[in-house]
C-alpha cells in the first residue's frame, strides 16, 4: 500500500517533535530501555528452561495471596509471562519513542471493481456455464441436485440413535409398597426413633445397590433418592396426600431429592425455617407447606413419598411416587 503525502496535510495539527527527536540523550536513554526490555525477555526465556529442567513438579511454594502453589507451575508461568510481555513492551516502547511518528494522510481507495473487471468476470462465468453444459443437459443437472439433497439425509437418520422414546420410564421409580428407606451410601435401615427433630437424612430405596450392579444402570439412582426430615408436627401446615391420611409419619416427611426445575440433587435444608433450597438455581421449597415453591425457577412442588413403618419398626414407603419426579418433560402434561 502506498502512502500518499497528500496535499491535505494542511488539515493536520502541526507536528510536535518528541524529546527523543530533539534530545540525543533522551534518544539514547529510550534506546537503552528498549534494549533492556529485550534482554529481560531473553533472560526470562533462559529462566523458563532452567526452571523446567531443575524445579521438581512436587515442590510446593507458600506465597502470600497465591497460597500453597506448585513451584514449577509458578516459575514457568512467571518466566513465560515476562519473556512474552517484555518482547511486546519493548516493541511498543521502540515504536513510540524512536520510530518516526510524523503524521500522514492515507486516502482510501474506492471500493468495488471497475466496470471492465466486472464485465470480464461475468463473461468468464457465462463461458464456464456454457462449456459445462449445465443448462443444456438437464438430466445431469437434476441428478446432481438429487444426489446433493440426499447427501444430507444420513445426518438426520443418525439422530434415530437418540431413541427409542423413554415410554413410561420417567413416570415411575423403583419405590414399591413396604420397601425400606435406607441411608444413602451406608445403606442402613432407619427407625422413626433414630430421627430427632431437625434431622436431615439422605435416603435411597432398599435394593438400590443391587440395581446399580447391573451395568450402566444409573437411571434408578437418578430417580429414586429421597430426603427425610423430622420436624415438630405442630410446624406442619400442609402435606401432600389426602387430608385424613397425610403421607408423613409422626412429623417425619419424605420428599424426592430431585429438584423439579432441572433435576439437581437438592438437600440444602435450613433447619429453622424448614426451607429446602436447590444449590443450582436457588429454587426454594417450603417443607412445612407440602413442599410448595416459594422462590426460584422451579414450577412444581417436590413430590412427597408416602411413608409408614413395617412390622420390624423400620421406615418404609407406602408405594411409588404418585407423580413423575424431577424436571418437566414434553409428554408430562
Amino acid at each position: 500500500m502506498s502512502i500518499e503525502h497528500s496535499s491535505h496535510s494542511e488539515d493536520l495539527p502541526p507536528h510536535v517533535p518528541r524529546r527523543a527527536d530533539t534530545d540525543p540523550r533522551a534518544a539514547k536513554r529510550a534506546e537503552r530501555q528498549v534494549g533492556l526490555l529485550f534482554i529481560a525477555s531473553s533472560l526470562a526465556t533462559v529462566g523458563f528452561i532452567v526452571a523446567f529442567v531443575f524445579i521438581s513438579t512436587e515442590d510446593l511454594l507458600d506465597l502470600p495471596f497465591f497460597g500453597n502453589v506448585s513451584a514449577s507451575n509458578f516459575a514457568l508461568g512467571l518466566f513465560m509471562g515476562v519473556a512474552l510481555f517484555a518482547i511486546g513492551a519493548g516493541a511498543i516502547h521502540w515504536a513510540k519513542k524512536l520510530m518516526s511518528d510524523v503524521e500522514v494522510i492515507n486516502e482510501r481507495h474506492p471500493e468495488g471493481s471497475d466496470d471492465e473487471s466486472r464485465a470480464a468476470a461475468l463473461a468468464e462465468y457465462e463461458r464456464g456455464r456454457d462449456e459445462s453444459g449445465f443448462t443444456r443437459r438437464p438430466f445431469i443437472r437434476n441428478s446432481l441436485l438429487l444426489s446433493l439433497a440426499l447427501a444430507g439425509i444420513p445426518a438426520v437418520v443418525l439422530l434415530r440413535d437418540l431413541g427409542p422414546l423413554p415410554g413410561t420410564v420417567l413416570r415411575h421409580t423403583m419405590w414399591t409398597e413396604d420397601m425400606r428407606i435406607l441411608t444413602a451410601e451406608t445403606l442402613q435401615p432407619i427407625r422413626p426413633g433414630d430421627l430427632e427433630i431437625g434431622t436431615l437424612v439422605s435416603g435411597v430405596p432398599e435394593g438400590i445397590d443391587l440395581v446399580l450392579e447391573e451395568e450402566g444402570n444409573l437411571n434408578e439412582l437418578a430417580k429414586s433418592p429421597v430426603i427425610l426430615v423430622r420436624m415438630d408436627p405442630t410446624d406442619i401446615k400442609a402435606e401432600q396426600g389426602p387430608a385424613d391420611d397425610p403421607w408423613g409419619y409422626q412429623g417425619i416427611l419424605c420428599f424426592s431429592k430431585i429438584c423439579t426445575h432441572v433435576g439437581c440433587p437438592i438437600s440444602l435444608y435450613e433447619q429453622q425455617t424448614h426451607h429446602l433450597l436447590c444449590p443450582c438455581h436457588q429454587s426454594t421449597f417450603d417443607l412445612t407447606d407440602a413442599a410448595n415453591v416459594i422462590f426460584g425457577p422451579a414450577a412444581r412442588a417436590l413430590p412427597q413419598l408416602a411413608i409408614s413403618v413395617d412390622t420390624d419398626g423400620y421406615l418404609v414407603a407406602r408405594g411409588d411416587f404418585t407423580q413423575p419426579v424431577g424436571p418437566s418433560f414434553w409428554e408430562r402434561g
Partner: protein, 275 residues
C-alpha cells in the same frame, strides 16, 4: 486549618470525611468490645462446676435464654433466644468454645469469633445446661476416639467423601469452603475447624444446619467425613488463588474485571502518544 477549609469542596472531601468517620467508629467499637471481653476473665471459684456454670449463665446468657434456660419468646412471635433445656453439652461446647455464643448482636447468623470463655468455663456452662434436664440430657461432648481420623483406611476416606457429597456439599461447597444460604445466613468454611467442633456440629445441628444424629450417621461415618474434610485441607493447590473453589462464575468475574481491565490499560498505553 485554613488549608483544610479551602479543600472542603474538593471532590475527595466526602470520601475523606467518610473514611475518617469509619475509622473512628471502628476504633471505638474495638476498644469497647475488647473491654467487655476483659470483664469475662476466669475467676477462682470454690463452688462446684454446676454452680459456677449457673453464675456464668445468669451473667452472660440469661438475657436471651431466660433465667432458667427456658428461652425468651416475645409476644409478637420472635424468639430472642431458644430454650436450652435438653440441648446437651455438645451444643454448649460448639456454640461457646467457637465464640458463636454469647452473641455480639442479633442478626441473621451468629458468626464465629474469639471465644469469650475459657475451656474450664465452657465445661462449667455445659454442666449447668445438662443439669437442667437430668432425664434427657441431650448429646454429650464427643470423646477424642470418636473423632480421631488418623487411622482411617483409604476406603473409609473415600466413603467419607461420598457421605460428604451426599449430605454436606450442598451447603458447605464441594471443597469445604462454605457458601451462602438465604437471607444473609451462610454455611461457614470447614477449613481449619477442629475435628471435635465438626463432630458436635453434625450431632447438634446448630443454627440453620440440620441434625445428623449418631443413629442415622454412625460414629464411624462421622469419623470418615471428618477425615475427608481434613484431607481436603492438606490437598495442594498447584494453580494458586483458588477463589474459594466456587467455580466458573468467580473465575469468569475475575477475568472480566481484572483481566479485561489489565488489557484495556495496556491498550490505552499503546494508544497514548509519546512525549
Amino acid at each position: 486549618m485554613t488549608a483544610l477549609l479551602a479543600r472542603r469542596r474538593s471532590k475527595f472531601a466526602t470520601a475523606a470525611v467518610l473514611l475518617v468517620a469509619l475509622l473512628a467508629m471502628g476504633g471505638a467499637y474495638s476498644i469497647a468490645s475488647s473491654a467487655s471481653r476483659a470483664q469475662a476473665a476466669p475467676r477462682a471459684d470454690t463452688s462446684t462446676q454446676v454452680e459456677q456454670g449457673k453464675k456464668l449463665f445468669l451473667e452472660g446468657c440469661s438475657t436471651c435464654h431466660g433465667a432458667g434456660g427456658e428461652g425468651n419468646f416475645q409476644p409478637d412471635g420472635t424468639v430472642a433466644g431458644p430454650s436450652l433445656i435438653g440441648v446437651g453439652a455438645a451444643a454448649v461446647d460448639f456454640q461457646v468454645s467457637t465464640g458463636r455464643m454469647p452473641l455480639a448482636n442479633p442478626g441473621a447468623q451468629a458468626p464465629q469469633k474469639t471465644p469469650v470463655y475459657t475451656p474450664d468455663e465452657v465445661a462449667a456452662l455445659a454442666a449447668y445446661i445438662v443439669s437442667l434436664s437430668p432425664a434427657d440430657p441431650g448429646p454429650a461432648i464427643p470423646t477424642s476416639d470418636m473423632y480421631d481420623y488418623s487411622n482411617l483406611t483409604p476406603e473409609e476416606l473415600a466413603l467419607g467423601g461420598q457421605l460428604y457429597r451426599a449430605n454436606c456439599s450442598s451447603c458447605h461447597n464441594f471443597a469445604g469452603e462454605g457458601g451462602a444460604l438465604s437471607a444473609g445466613k451462610y454455611a461457614p468454611s470447614l477449613m481449619g475447624v477442629e475435628p471435635r467442633i465438626i463432630y458436635e456440629a453434625m450431632l447438634t445441628g446448630p443454627q440453620s444446619m440440620p441434625v445428623f444424629p449418631d443413629t442415622t450417621m454412625r460414629v464411624q461415618d462421622k469419623q470418615a467425613i471428618i477425615g475427608y474434610i481434613k484431607s481436603l485441607e492438606t490437598q495442594p493447590n498447584p494453580g494458586g488463588i483458588d477463589l474459594g473453589r466456587l467455580g466458573p462464575v468467580t473465575e469468569g468475574l475475575l477475568l472480566w474485571t481484572l483481566g479485561l481491565g489489565l488489557m484495556i490499560a495496556v491498550a490505552v498505553w499503546i494508544g497514548v502518544k509519546a512525549k
